[in-house]
């Protein structure tokens, strides 16, 4: 009889996500899956509400990327209300978005990915954590905290608070930026840029030292998707959606409001989270990845100088073709952090950002509207349909992590087959499965609208479907 192993962080809500590993009688992995079990309810819960409440409602989906929902929702509301925000409002919203990107990416690298990269996948869990980083390199730890704080302070300056800000509204924003606030943000920027570059060097050094792992760990072809500017440069706030194939061949370039023509959602009976795909190729041929790896794969360049230099290094990895290895997400994430920091400086140097012209009025109500931003984890779409009074009839949210659902499950499957031996299970093997998921920086709270934690269970089954074992990662409160 084969073995069943389950890793179960004890949860606030049972079964948000599970990894199941199915082994044969020899203990070899046959298949592994990432299941998302939490029911999504925000779309139904919002029906009957007024559309303009959504920029305040939808950020409550998540405590990690509330700003992404806030801004994506505001853009959908702009479309529903038929109003184009003034330029200053767009600049300010983008500034908040850059703050969000910086804090989220910095947090992921330092808190989640960093311990694996600095201590190795097999290091003792007692040191393979952020405290371990603090003890080994306290300066690095302090700078990481301050970088995250920098991003959060931008959000708080504009929106009144760091999480669930009150800022973007239909037609614009409700707060100006003062000269003093601008100068406060600009202070210490060079130090933060230097720190991000230090993080990039850490990532590059780790890749050099572990190239064999990087070239074989969760490496597989998919399509890629992300926003781009008109000239094909990386874009996180506006622009059009570009979809490319595994060889970099163009699939589509479209306005986000037309997403339903190109993106379908497949359902599997073993997960509540759907599997988005490119409609013309069907499922699973049309699966694609989003987020830092997806965005840098679809972009032709980056519009800021320091990040663009790193971007050229990124493109050289696979000679201009898409980079496939999942571990390259960490490098791509840091390049985006550098871009976001440089973009903050550009925005603050634009004199229009201090203008009082922050809101437009008087549009004609439309029956529906779509808002799209590149959240730290990937393309985020908010789609609202309303009645003639503005009450929501239907809400569709395609969450960044949802686009990566297939890829995360595929990564788990590949890594489990490569590293997990059911007869001789080690902590390092199970950590590798986690590393595969961590590369995508998933926000399952977001994609499943949970209470704010991301519980996950790893279970191992024998060939007859008998559950054999479970491992608990976190403890109940």
């Amino acid at each position: 009889m084969g073995k069943k192993i389950a890793i179960e962080p004890v949860t606030r809500i049972e079964g948000h996500a599970r990894v199941t590993i199915h082994v044969d009688d020899d203990g070899k992995v046959e298949n592994a899956y990432l299941h998302i079990d939490q029911f999504r309810g925000f779309e139904k819960f919002s029906e009957g509400r007024m559309y303009y409440e959504m920029p305040q409602i939808t950020p409550r989906i998540c405590g990690i990327c509330p700003v992404s929902h806030h801004l994506g929702s505001a853009k959908a509301c702009d479309a529903v209300s038929g109003i184009e925000p003034p330029r200053t409002a767009s600049l300010l919203r983008e500034l908040m978005h850059m703050g969000q990107t910086i804090q989220s990416h910095a947090m992921h690298f330092f808190h989640l990915a960093g311990p694996d990269l600095l201590f190795s996948f097999d290091a003792d869990p007692k040191i393979r954590n952020v405290i371990g980083i603090v003890q080994v390199n306290p300066t690095l730890a302090t700078k990481a905290v301050m970088l995250r704080k920098f991003g959060q302070e931008i959000i708080k300056t504009l929106g009144g608070k760091k999480i669930h800000p009150v800022f973007a509204v239909a037609g614009g924003v409700n707060n100006v930026l003062t000269e003093e606030e601008r100068d406060t943000i600009l202070k210490d920027m060079d130090e933060h840029i230097a720190f991000i570059q230090q993080g990039i060097e850490i990532a590059k050094r780790w890749v050099r030292d572990n190239m064999e792992t990087v070239e074989t760990f969760a490496v597989f072809p998919t399509g890629y998707m992300g926003l781009v500017k008109e000239d094909g440069a990386l874009e996180l706030y506006e622009g059009k959606i570009r979809l490319i194939g595994p060889e970099g061949e163009p699939w589509e370039l479209f306005d986000p409001s037309d997403y339903l023509e190109y993106i379908g959602e497949h359902v599997e009976d073993w997960s509540y989270l759907k599997f988005p795909f490119y409609k013309k190729l069907g499922y699973p041929d049309g699966v694609y990845r989003v987020g830092p790896l997806g965005r840098l794969n679809v972009a032709d360049k980056i519009s800021t100088p320091l990040a663009n230099e790193e971007f050229k290094n990124f493109k050289a990895i696979n000679e201009g073709k898409p980079v496939e290895g999942s571990l390259w997400y960490h490098y791509a994430r840091l390049i985006e952090t550098l871009y976001a920091m440089e973009r903050v400086k550009e925005l603050l140097d634009d004199p229009d950002i201090l203008s009082n012209d922050i809101r437009a009025y008087g549009g004609e109500l439309q029956s529906e509207g779509v808002g799209c931003v590149e959240a730290p984890r990937g393309t985020l779409l908010h789609h609202y349909k309303v009645d003639e009074g503005g009450k929501l009839l239907k809400v569709n949210l395609i969450i960044a992590t949802g686009h990566n659902n297939w890829a995360m499950s595929k990564s788990v499957d590949d890594v489990a087959k490569q590293y997990v031996d059911g007869n001789n299970l080690t902590e390092g093997m199970l950590n590798r499965v986690e590393v595969a998921i961590r590369a995508y920086d998933p926000c399952l709270s977001c994609s499943t609208h949970a209470l704010g934690k991301m519980p996950i269970i790893l279970e191992m089954y024998d060939k007859d479907g008998n559950l054999l074992d479970q491992i608990t990662r976190d403890s109940k409160e």
């Binding site: 409550r60 306290p138 704080k149 998933p442 209470l451 976190d474």
Partner: protein, 149 residues
């Protein structure tokens, strides 16, 4: 008795009924204590809060309890102990204390005030029972802060 420099951090998902009890507690503390106590409301704890709490004498965390235990209200002192999470950016309060201790060499006295939740459906109201115990929790917090006996 001199007032300690105290901060109360209430966290949880405000739109999942009893999971928002931390927010309710913070609002009540603000109403009753005014500017005597600093407060923070957030969805979840993050590493940057180590920089926030480092200079306080007392830190009180207020949160909902999800699970099976008898007590509706539990007030306990916290030790700085780090537990790594596998995926989520979620940070437990004792882990936050450990970060504060390690990064800034500061360890404020800390408490967790947890109120048992019964209803975690979508919504912003607290269940009757959770609200009753949340009001008692506020009294406990004011005692811990030295504002009332």
């Amino acid at each position: 008795m001199a007032l300690s420099h105290t901060i109360v951090i209430g966290y949880g998902n405000f739109h999942r009924q009893d999971d928002g009890v931390g927010h309710y507690i913070v609002q009540e503390v603000e109403r009753q204590a005014g500017e005597s106590i600093d407060t923070v409301c957030c969805h979840q704890l993050g590493i940057e809060q180590s920089e926030t709490i480092k200079d306080y004498d007392i830190v009180i965390f207020a949160d909902a309890y999800v699970g099976h235990r008898e007590e509706d209200l539990k007030v306990a002192s916290l030790e700085a102990t780090f537990t790594q999470s596998a995926f989520t950016h979620h940070l437990k309060p004792d882990s936050l204390l450990a970060l504060t201790q390690n990064i800034f060499q500061k360890t404020p006295k800390a408490y967790i005030v947890s109120v048992k939740g019964y209803d975690f459906d979508f919504g912003t109201d607290l269940s009757t029972r959770t609200q009753k115990w949340a009001d008692i929790a506020v009294k406990k917090i004011l005692e811990l802060s030295g504002i009332s006996k």
